[in-house]
């Protein structure tokens, strides 16, 4: 017999990360200098352990399901997203280690904050009711605000943190108000109960509609859907590049996971969601891509492209009231995995290639880098091909599943807008490859030192992941 209660084993990944985060905080206080050296290794180990826990749970035949009276749901979707968040955090750990050393900003609390954010993300994707949802979101966001402003002597970093914080708190206000309205109307905070009440149709439609709209706006802010995206390019551009990798992948994935869970399971009724989400999707894809098209800084281009990718995800989300919940969740989870591999890889690459103080993020400064560093350069080219959605990369499969969902449920127009957008995006992604390989390099301008072995391993893993993920057999 299993001596441990299921509440413990099913949430093991979360326990590991929470305890790890606290341990790292104390380590910093107790050991000072020595602690700083081991912090990244320790954080990485904790994340790997937690990932092991996720894999173990994924391999179980029966999912634990709802725990703590439905406050927490451990199923394929939440486990997959935990895996995605861990992947993002692990990559960030690797990218940060050499980045912080180069920027002379090594402290232990950085990694503690990273783990705290991860525990918030876990809570968020596990949430089965509004309370857990909100606690997770705030835990994640608070840690993320600090991380964005981590290089506090750098103006752009501080600005990013301030913007992120102000608008994030604003969005939280929307969310909280929406939750309050829904609770007032229904008397419940559990997603499934709310769904039952909605199906019975006893609730005041004014309060429910208003509450749900506020939730949509709040979540729209968190995942940066146009027109609530204003903060995203500045924050991703201003934050230290490894943190941008984390914010644009892990944090976004968790928020998207909760978004999908909430709308698929609580509001997944035939109703007004299709046009509303479809409009958001079209706006987000188009404006994100147009913004990215105009950029000369690759980091800023990636920031806008990350907005555009939220738009592709919203195409899948738009089918939420037409398709079965698990179909939407699968497509979204797969896309988030693919997106994390390629976007985190690309931001990590920038963290390396931009050099000291992120001096050279302009596309001009990457001339000829692909030929100078064949393997590392090729990986960046792979990320770009994948982001553009070219076969046989993960980006293609991800888009394929999302658009398939839309076409299968009659939203052909939306899928058309989606592919036209990915055509536009191909131009600016390929432009990076053009500079990497097809422009003669200027010798003294790009004095990037070769990537250290840990960075190379991380890039290679991302690259191989991008190539293989579409063909792997997934439990979901």
């Amino acid at each position: 017999m299993n001596p441990l209660p299921v509440e413990f084993t099913a949430l093991l990944p979360l326990w590991i990360v929470v305890l790890g985060a606290l341990a790292l905080l104390f380590l910093e206080a107790l050991l000072h200098e020595e602690g700083r050296k081991v912090a990244p290794v320790l954080a990485g180990t904790i994340l790997v352990l937690s990932l092991g826990g996720v894999f173990h749970l994924l391999s179980l035949h029966a999912m634990p399901g709802a725990l703590f009276h439905g406050s927490v749901v451990v199923d394929l979707f939440s486990l997959t997203l935990q895996g995605v968040c861990l992947l993002s955090a692990l990559l960030t750990c690797v990218f940060s280690a050499s980045y912080l050393k180069r920027e002379k900003a090594v402290t232990g609390e950085y990694y503690a904050l990273l783990l705290l954010a991860v525990s918030g993300m876990f809570t968020l994707v596990l949430a089965g009711d509004f309370l857990t949802f909100f606690v997770g979101l705030e835990l994640m966001s608070l840690a993320a605000y600090v991380l964005a402003g981590y290089l506090r002597v750098k103006e752009s970093s501080t600005e990013a943190a301030l913007k992120y914080f102000t608008l994030g708190v604003f969005a939280s206000g929307f969310l909280l108000y929406g939750i309050a309205l829904l609770y007032g109307a229904s008397g419940t905070i559990h997603f499934p109960d709310l769904r039952i009440f909605l199906e019975q149709g006893h609730l005041s439609s004014l309060f429910v509609g208003l509450g749900a709209a506020l939730l949509l706006v709040g979540l729209g802010f968190k995942v940066a859907l146009v027109p609530f995206h204003g903060w995203a390019p500045d924050v991703y551009d201003g934050a230290p590049a490894p943190v941008s990798a984390f914010l644009s992948t892990g944090v976004k994935a968790a928020a998207f996971g909760a978004f999908t869970r909430l709308f698929a399971e609580a509001f997944g009724l035939p109703g007004a969601w299709v046009p509303a989400l479809a409009v958001l999707a079209v706006l987000t894809m188009t404006l994100g891509n147009l913004g990215a098209l105009a950029q000369d800084s690759v980091k800023r281009m990636l920031s806008y492209s990350s907005v555009a990718h939220a738009g592709y995800l919203a195409v899948g989300l738009a089918t939420v009231s037409l398709a079965p919940a698990d179909e939407v969740e699968r497509a979204v989870a797969f896309y988030l995995l693919a997106y994390t591999l390629m976007t985190a890889g690309a931001f990590g690459w920038i963290a390396w290639a931009a050099g000291k103080g992120e001096a050279s993020t302009g596309i001009e400064s990457y001339k000829g880098l692909g030929l100078k560093y064949p393997v590392t350069g090729l990986m960046m080219a792979l990320f770009m091909f994948s982001l553009a959605g070219m076969t046989p990369t993960a980006g293609f499969f991800g888009k394929y599943y999302l658009f398939k969902l839309a076409v299968d449920h009659g939203l052909i127009g939306l899928a058309l807008v989606g592919v036209l957008n990915s055509f536009v995006s191909a131009y600016y992604y390929l432009r990076v490859v053009v500079f990497l390989y097809m422009k003669p390099s200027e010798d003294q301008a790009t004095a990037v030192s070769p990537a250290t072995w840990d960075l190379r391993v991380a890039f290679l893993l991302c690259g191989l992941g991008v190539l293989a993920v579409g063909f792997l057999k997934f439990p979901f």
Partner: protein, 525 residues
Amino acid sequence: MILSLLIGLPVLGAVLAALFPQERIAKALALLASLTTFAFSLTLYTGFDPANGGFQFQELMPLVPRFSINYSLGLDGLSLWLVLLTTFITPWVILGSFGMIGKNVRGFYACLLLLESSVIGTLASTDIFLFYVFWELMLIPAFFLIGVWGGPNRVKGTLKFVLFTMAGSLLMLVALLYVTHEVKSFDYTKLFDHSFPEDVQFWCFLAFALAFFIKVPLFPFHGWLPDAYTEAPAGGTVMLSAILVKLGAYGLLRFCIPLFPEAAKDFAPWIMVLAVAGVVHGALMATLQTDFKRMTAYSSLSHMGLITLGIFTFSLTGLEGGLVQMVGHGVYMAGLFLLTGMLFQRRESHEMDAYGGVAKAAPLLAAAFLWMVLSAAGLPGFAGFTGEILILTSAYKTWPLPALVAIAGFVLSAWYLFNMYGKVFFGKGKANSEEAKNSKKAKKEEEPKPLADLSWNEGLALLPLALAALWIGLNANFFLAPMEKTLEMKVIEKLKPPPVMMDFAAQQRRLQDEIESNKKTKKAH
């Protein structure tokens, strides 16, 4: 397993070529890989049963089981010659490029081999999803081939090529999603058996056809062609003109016409007009060029228009002519573009005026060039003739007026080709003219060096192409026999009025399926 082998061998060769630090070994490995691939591909011909119009050499393996996407390969009369063309051309491109590539040599050969592999994969896929994966995959090596090793405007050329092609393929993707959703399968034979309602056929035909028209390219979708062909390195141009563009025509034959026959019939007259417009436009543009690579590019466009014309006559002769012309066009365009590359390598220019009197300095090169020009001009007994005559006669029977215009375009092609040949190989050229001589007196060092004749690798690369050009011209039946059955069963039957053909075709396939499943069960026992 033979088809997987043909896809895998070039990839292996590419990886090895990229990994070996010595360029000589990388070159040799690339050549070896492509030659082995060619040798293995010969078993396709010997093992091919011409009486069977269905897929042969089939392979099946689940790829994404949840969506029932399979790694399923097969070959029939439509794809057989194109696969053989690909495996045949690649080694000579590699051999011919030995002296031409100055930088990043290993990457160049790796890209060539990856391109070969993805082309074979595209041709051999019998799962439409797999087809799409390979179809788009072709863009990546081609993108690098043009962009890294191309001429001065290579970035423009490569971006145009990739973006044009992507625009078409992405719309095809949506149609593909829709079609597979309707049929609930990615299997080509299942899609083939399904008959779609008229309006679906209309839109899906347009979406699929756009992707293939851009690839062919059909006038007016050819915007990418002149720049991409001219800027690509000679080896890349050969891969583009001899092989890649054929896949557009292949896609029309494989998907557009059999899956959406009603729409194809409705669109056929329009497409024939566009095809003829392409023949004439290409020919006229070619006569205007002073740059002989660009001229050859336009002539390639003009000849591809002829292939489209043949296909959309929907008669067996026209279709056969189209397929034979694809092979012939592949062979002589490979020869012509390799030769242009060899000339360029000798004098760093594509301008006709920069040459003149080459025939005296390099008689072998001149002879080889003449051989290919004769084939391209459609002299009886050479590669261009067979397909051309089949296409034009069947087009004339279907619709005389466009056929006559196309003939005019083709006569023009003989004129500009010989004109160019005369200028480059016999003419005086600017370098030899009085004016140039006067200025040369002032600057002695600018006098062009006498041109060297073909080197061993160039000669060896051209010889098989020259022989093949003759072989296609003399022995057309050899090529026609294996494709006949497939064309009848997969294209012509589909275009006949529905009730008769559905039963017949479906029955035959059902029988075949039964036989195969029997075989499988036997094997299992």
